[in-house]
Symmetry: C2
């Protein structure tokens, strides 16, 4: 991402946090080291107490920013999808050919993540691993419907919808654009997970990327 975006802020639904972590130094440290610590321990073993120790602050101070670790995860993953949304918008804005545009979109949404200099306190590589390993835990709960109504997943839904529109622009007769879009988004996380832990269940690995798999799949499906 370029310098134009250096002052950009990904905006996130205010009901996800108690106090905006972008508004203070402590808040940014919570986010920065929260990402690193969840990535190290896994979300299940992560606690606010451990994060407090890591940043030499106090558990109770973290609770003033986020109600609980579940909301913290929703905050972090929302940030991630908001970040992807910007990348997608910038990378496809000048492309007119629908096929080329869609391929570019899939590439951006499914590729291996690299560090983005525009956001100092966020390690996008670690955050991407968190999304791969933990994102589904944020919605596989008994509270999904309530939280969905509260708008906790708007960014992801908007992103999935953009992809769906691009699919429809390539082939408006294709009957399942929404399902294909969600399959690409969730399926890509899954293929990344499989290549790290269940190699027999995927063709992705050193020589083949999830991007190649999904671009091939989509092209063949829509251009036939």
């Amino acid at each position: 991402m370029n310098d134009l975006l250096r002052n950009l802020k990904i905006s996130i639904n205010e009901s996800i946090y108690l106090k905006d972590p972008e508004s203070s130094d402590l808040g940014k440290r919570i986010v920065e080291h929260g990402i690193l610590l969840i990535n190290e321990l896994g979300f299940d073993n992560f606690t606010f107490k451990k994060l407090g120790e890591r940043i030499e602050s106090n558990e109770s101070s973290i609770y003033r920013y986020f109600e609980n670790k579940h909301k913290f995860l929703i905050y972090l993953t929302s940030w991630y999808w908001g970040w992807k949304e910007y990348q997608l918008a910038f990378a496809t804005i000048n492309i007119n050919d629908p096929k080329h545009k869609l391929n570019q979109a899939i590439e951006i949404l499914t590729r291996e993540v690299e560090e983005d200099q525009s956001f100092n306190h966020i390690n996008e590589v670690a955050l991407n691993k968190i999304v791969i390993n933990e994102y589904s835990k944020s919605y596989l709960t008994k509270e999904v419907d309530d939280e969905n109504k509260e708008g906790y997943f708007v960014i992801y839904k908007r992103l999935s919808n953009r992809l769906k529109e691009m699919i429809a622009d390539v082939n408006e007769g294709y009957p399942y654009p929404a399902s294909l879009a969600s399959t690409i988004l969730a399926g890509s996380l899954h293929q990344h997970f499989l290549k790290d832990h269940f190699t027999s269940l995927t063709d992705c690995g050193a020589e083949t990327s999830p991007s190649q798999y999904f671009i091939h799949l989509t092209s063949n499906l829509l251009n036939s």
Copy 2:
């Protein structure tokens, strides 16, 4: 499923449990009501203490069958995939045409689950909902690699592989059979979840089923 299978037992890796729950009345009650209770409360809110109260037994007695609730989930989902594996084997054994065989396989693996009379103490409909809502939590952990080595996921991997073989039998030139198989299995659970909670992200619903979507996708992909 027919009467031939009435005495069938789905066999599950012995290291997943401490004492075989099929070997006693209490064990069967743990499984039977464990499925119902997890379905009611969600896995996160489920505890052995609550299950003990439900079956009028004791927490400590349940701990003699399963080390912890994580292993209990692995047991239940392994049972589910073993059950699917039998259904798949029986339904495809006499089909010779590879395309027809594959379509039949996808149908079985992605369709809405109905009660199976062959296994009295197991409510397959509730178990299917558990698999949709909780299966990914069983492998999205820091311990996956160890547990995978212990064979906790063999049944699922074997099933995914069978599907992969059927895909390859239809089109041996298709470059991503393993990824397509895992996409169908995990993607189907995901589409079922979306139709219940995020309707804008899927085309599946009252008129369209995940089976139709995946059969259409696979046919178009392999027969072009």
